[in-house]
């Protein structure tokens, strides 16, 4: 049985091999259907040059990331959810109705942060400036997907962590999505230790390193996690939007 306390924070450093960064998904994120015949009918599939670059970059990723991720389980009873906002430990978030509705049944929340460090973004910037924009862009896309997969991995840890209490988890929700202002990153970070996992915020709420993800996960006996949250999101042109649902924690 886990007994969450105000200081109940957990930090992890998974390795790249713990993550599920799939080539097919990367190709899809880049816009291609993936797995098609190489080039000269660009529409039919991923150009060989792109597939080859992904293959070339992936083995280098482990030596260019410093993964840190963690969460805190807020005290039971510290969270109250209204129709379009919620309060945690006296901090109020205007999350918007979409997120508030999905967190309403939460007994408590787990604010979290995940990062892969700044080496990948530095590498991408060097390539972009050094005359290899294609590789630079693909490095950036792989970095974005890697940090998403760190957050995905962390969700599993949170789920495992609360399972002995008979609790489930919701999907993860982040400021900047579904009507939740990114400006509330500062309030979110106020619930976590200073520079948690090495991530800090700029005045404009940008996380440094840039390749970081933050948010909250709802916890409780009756909350549920949807296979895909794309259907509730208003970012219709999101690069991660998929017709097929993303794999669930259990499936991944």
């Amino acid at each position: 049985m886990i007994g969450p306390t105000a200081n109940d924070t957990y930090v992890f450093s998974p390795s790249f091999s713990d993550l599920t960064v799939r080539r097919e998904l990367l190709e899809k994120i880049l816009g291609y259907k993936g797995g098609g015949p190489p080039d000269h009918a660009v529409r039919a599939g991923t150009p060989a040059v792109v597939s080859n670059l992904i293959e070339e970059i992936l083995p280098e990723v482990p030596s260019r990331i410093s993964v840190r991720c963690g969460f805190r389980i807020l005290p039971v009873g510290s969270v109250s959810v209204a129709s379009d906002s919620l309060s945690c430990n006296g901090v109020r978030f205007t999350t918007g109705a979409i997120i508030a509705k999905r967190l309403r049944a939460s007994t408590t929340l787990a604010p979290f942060v995940a990062t892969i460090g700044s080496q990948m973004e530095d590498w991408s910037r060097e390539l972009m400036a050094g005359g290899d924009p294609v590789k630079g862009f693909i490095v950036d896309a792989i970095a974005s997907e890697t940090v998403e997969q760190v957050a995905e991995w962390l969700e599993k840890r949170v789920a495992e962590h609360v399972k002995p209490r008979g609790w489930n988890i919701t999907n993860r929700y982040s400021p900047g999505y579904c009507g939740w202002s990114v400006a509330e990153q500062h309030e979110l970070f106020s619930l976590l230790p200073e520079r948690f996992c090495g991530v800090s915020l700029t005045v404009s709420s940008l996380m440094i390193p840039i390749k970081s993800v933050s948010g909250v996960i709802g916890l409780g006996p009756t909350v549920k996690r949807d296979a895909s949250i794309c259907s509730i999101c208003d970012l219709k042109d999101c690069f991660r939007r998929q017709d097929d649902p993303l794999p669930t924690v259990e499936e991944a």
């Binding site: 880049l30 080039d39 000269h40 060989a48 924009p133 862009f137 940008l206 840039i210």
Partner: protein, 308 residues
Amino acid sequence: MRQSETRFGPYRLADHLTTDRRKVRVSAVRARLRGGTSRRHNISEPFFLEFVESYFYNLIAPDFDNPWRNLRFFSQHEMENTVSTNEILDSLQRCIERGKVNNKSPHPPDMKGQDGADELARKALDTGIPPQDVLSKALVIGMQHVGERFRNKEIFVPDVLMSAKAMSAAMEHLKPFFESNALKHRGTVVMGTVLGDLHDIGKKIVSMVIEGAGWEVVDLGTDVSPEKFLNAVAQHPGCVVGLSALLTTTMINMETTVRHIKAQHPGTKIIVGGAPVTHDFASKIGADGYSPDPQGAVEFLNTRGLQS
């Protein structure tokens, strides 16, 4: 050999004809050439007529009434050169569209071993094709098609970047002409990601497509203060300003930047873009334009950004 020179002597048909007479003669030649000649030379009639028309005034015509004799002065070599000019420009445009950088680049696979934008741009200039034609008849058209296909979701960012790389390889050969003012950009665009925002890639992609459309880009980078934008506008009179932001918290800094620029340089055109930016937001903050994609930015520049 330049197009204005000829091996046929110092006479120019145009010098010996009045304007009206020239019209009549050209018309007569065209009428008598129509049909048989184009087939004889195995080239298309529209091309052949254009060819005759463009060369007619610059060549001596010893017998005005016998176009067949005139034609003999157009040697096979001369015709091949003309055909070759169009072929080079077409191939160069194709290299831009397909992202073929040079003959060593493996992409695209079906063009492996062929000359790329690098070699063809050099070849075009060495053949005597004017730099302006290389730019406007091959590079700009190529990048325009790339922008349109990207907008239609037929190709994606890596494809655009491969084309931009090919474009850049070709532009290297045009650099000396820009430096000597023999070739001019359509105008200057000062680009930057606004204060507080460190996102760079989207702005870079737009910048590359804008350069491909014949504009000079001055990239101020990321986290750019209104003061830095003002300095750049002062240094580049008549420039257009492009503002980028990827966060709702930083796009509000666009408003401050627009206000400062409009206060000190009221005539400066400003276009904004970035994931959270909308047309309504652009109008509200006083920007002149908004585009969700690079091609839209090019269209704005080519219509509203040009100096009168």
